[in-house]
């Protein structure tokens, strides 16, 4: 009983156990699931989600939510894609292959900042604002691209190489980038003043300003980071899939990311959540996604599984909070 209790309260341990159990269960039916090769497949599935999940986690810890990241991803990927496509027409020369990386990050950050400004200046609920910008940014993606896809041939091969070539151990660059972002997020949240302030705002938005926290400033930073990471995920989308499409790229992405974050034990009520938990949540989602086709489960059940997982995570979250302050404190990193 006490073990179960510990697992429920230490969310990270609980998710780790769930991942192991899940993998063993799948492995019992399909031994090939427990191979290094599968690990590579899973790790290649998750980088985009992991990067965006870091931003989303900060937003949710600050007691907001960002539904627009899928469209932000699409828009910033499209800007870079068009840069690669039309660079000769616009500037008369070929831009270096890495140009898209800073461009997408900056564009994404800009869109995130717009979300933050609307939310903070007009005192609006994030969920509605980002529901609006979800539609708005997607529409803008269509408009700037004239509803045309950027095909594979325009994406520089060095950029595509990030998803294929590897510095060490046959592990492609994007996996290192994803874990690097997670590490940076950890350092930011745990070891900087502002990182701690995000938790303070989320735990008690009313008390935070009384403690001298500049809520507006911190909130703007949080949304800007979330947008910037969605932008980074955008250019990596171009790298991973080799094209940018105005309608597909990033559509529905927000649900996967929010599911991963919520599974990872980030409380939707703000103030609670850890990088480790989020990383594990992303990995669990990746394991599920890789296992379904191996088991021959049709993709049609995937949405229902995501939805059920979000609800179960919510109920667990609620149970944890009911455990009382003692349990609550231990969850806080």
């Amino acid at each position: 009983m006490s073990l179960i209790r510990t697992l429920l309260v230490r969310r990270e341990a609980g998710i780790a156990v769930m991942i192991v159990l899940f993998c063993l269960a799948v492995g019992a039916f399909r031994p090939q699931f427990l191979t290094l090769d599968q690990l590579r497949i899973i790790l290649l599935l998750v980088p985009l989600i992991m990067i965006a999940a870091m931003g989303q986690m900060m937003v949710i810890v600050a007691r907001h939510v960002d539904l627009s990241i899928g469209s932000t991803l699409g828009f910033s990927a499209m800007v870079s894609g068009m840069l690669y496509r039309f660079d000769v027409d616009w500037f008369g020369f070929d831009v270096p292959w890495w140009t898209g990386i800073p461009v997408s990050i900056v564009v994404g950050a800009g869109l995130g900042l717009v979300n933050g400004l609307l939310i903070q200046l007009f005192r609006l609920p994030a969920i509605i604002v980002t529901l609006g910008t979800l539609s708005l940014y997607r529409g803008l993606t269509f408009i700037i691209s004239n509803a045309k896809q950027i095909d594979r041939q325009w994406i520089p091969s060095e950029l595509k190489g990030l998803s294929q070539t590897s510095p060490v151990f046959g592990t492609p660059w994007i996996i290192f980038i994803a874990f690097g972002v997670a590490l940076a997020t950890y350092l930011f949240l745990m070891h900087t003043r502002m990182g701690r302030q995000i938790y303070a705002i989320g735990s008690n938005p009313v008390a935070a300003p009384l403690r001298g926290i500049k809520v507006t400033q911190v909130t703007l930073v949080v949304f800007t980071i979330s947008g910037a990471l969605a932008g980074l995920a955008g250019i990596l989308y171009a790298s991973r899939w080799g094209f940018v499409n105005p309608s597909n790229t990033g559509s529905g992405f927000e649900f996967q990311v929010i599911a991963a974050v919520v599974i990872g034990g980030v409380s939707i009520n703000g103030g609670v959540g850890s990088v480790l938990g989020t990383v594990l949540g992303v990995l669990l989602l990746g394991c599920v996604a890789a296992a379904l086709p191996l088991l021959g489960i049709p993709g049609t059940s995937q949405a229902a599984i995501y939805g059920a997982v979000i609800l179960v995570a919510l109920v667990i979250d609620r149970t944890v909070r009911r455990q009382g302050i003692a349990g609550f404190k231990r969850v806080q990193p």
Partner: protein
């Protein structure tokens, strides 16, 4: 006398010109599955060029998403605009029945272009398909057979489980494999569905490679699927072991052909579908073409076209095969 006839001629000329001015040009609209779908750029190009040549008005519209009902407001709007011809790539084989009936009741010629209302053919006037879909399965099996030496395990990576065209082709593939002794040594081990999403198609392809280590060939009869499958093969560097083929867009597959990941794949000319649709529609409207099974008509560049069973019209007899030799001749 001469003068008089000249005058007469002049008058006739003016009358003719006046008549031509008075008669509104035929308005043709093509409703795509969704915007941002590169496939439709090429079809639209065919519509545009044909309309330029024949003097009709053309517009392309499409909803933002390819969901079953998203085309309905667009069809309603075209009825309201009073267009003469609606070409449509239907997002659903039956959800559009009522509104297409409304359009036809208003005298609008309804053509499905590049996709049909399978099972509900009575709700459109004719369908324009690139090839006879009965042969696609056979040709694709031949294609993968030639790549793997007619021996070994093969798999199919399709779009969605209910995609009507793909399913028809898959039936064709199965029949060919079963009945033609030429392919007796080829074994179809799995048919999986990537839902036309790159992520999903990739995981399905990876699962195929894990579940069937001896896999020699993959047929992906969908543009998203073939690109995703090719990418998996490319990043694993196993192009000489696993041969990917299927139906793809040259613009999306060019790189894979050039680096040898994919030796050959097939498709047809989407451009010709648009080109044919305009010529056929104008012919039916002015009475020069009878929209009856068995009747024939001439289309510039395409030659003699026959209306097949179910008022189905094909732009070409055989699939076009793309490989390293010819891929640069195609710009779609």
């Amino acid at each position: 006398m001469l003068k008089k006839s000249l005058l007469l001629g002049l008058a006739a000329g003016i009358a003719l010109a006046g008549a031509a001015l008075a008669a509104d040009p035929v308005k043709i609209v093509y409703i795509g599955k969704n915007t941002g779908n590169p496939y439709f750029d090429s079809i639209t190009g065919g519509f545009q060029d044909a309309c330029k040549a024949k003097g009709c008005e053309f517009e392309f519209v499409a909803p933002a998403t390819a969901e079953a009902t998203s085309q309905i407001p667009f069809i309603e709007a075209q009825i309201q605009r009073g267009v003469n011809v609606i070409g449509i790539a239907p997002n659903s084989p039956d959800a559009l029945n009522q509104v297409l009936d409304d359009a036809r009741a208003k005298g609008i010629l309804v053509l499905t272009v590049n996709g049909d209302l399978t099972g509900n053919e009575s709700h459109r006037d004719a369908t324009i398909l690139p090839v006879n879909f009965d042969i696609v399965g056979r040709d694709q099996v031949e294609m993968v057979g030639s790549l793997i030496g007619y021996e070994g395990e093969i798999a199919i990576l399709s779009a969605t489980t209910e995609a009507p065209d793909q399913n028809k082709w898959i039936v064709g593939m199965n029949d060919t494999l079963k009945n033609d002794p030429k392919y007796a040594k080829m074994k179809l081990v799995a048919t999986v569905y990537g839902d036309d999403q790159p992520e999903k198609s990739t995981t399905e392809m990876e699962a195929l490679l894990s579940n069937y280590p001896d896999l020699k060939g993959v047929i992906a009869p969908t543009t998203v699927g073939i690109a995703a499958a090719a990418q998996v093969v490319q990043s694993r560097g196993i192009a000489d072991k696993v041969h990917v083929t299927g139906l793809g867009l040259p613009s999306e597959m060019r790189d894979f052909i050039k680096d040898g990941t994919v030796k050959a794949f097939q498709l047809w000319s989407p451009y010709n579908e648009g080109w044919l649709a305009v010529h056929f529609a104008l012919g039916v409207l002015d009475g020069s073409i009878k929209n009856e099974v068995g009747s024939t008509f001439e289309v510039p560049n395409l030659g003699k076209i026959t209306i097949n069973a179910n008022n189905s019209i094909n732009t070409q007899a055989e699939l076009t095969t793309f490989n390293a030799d010819n891929i640069d001749q195609f710009n779609f």
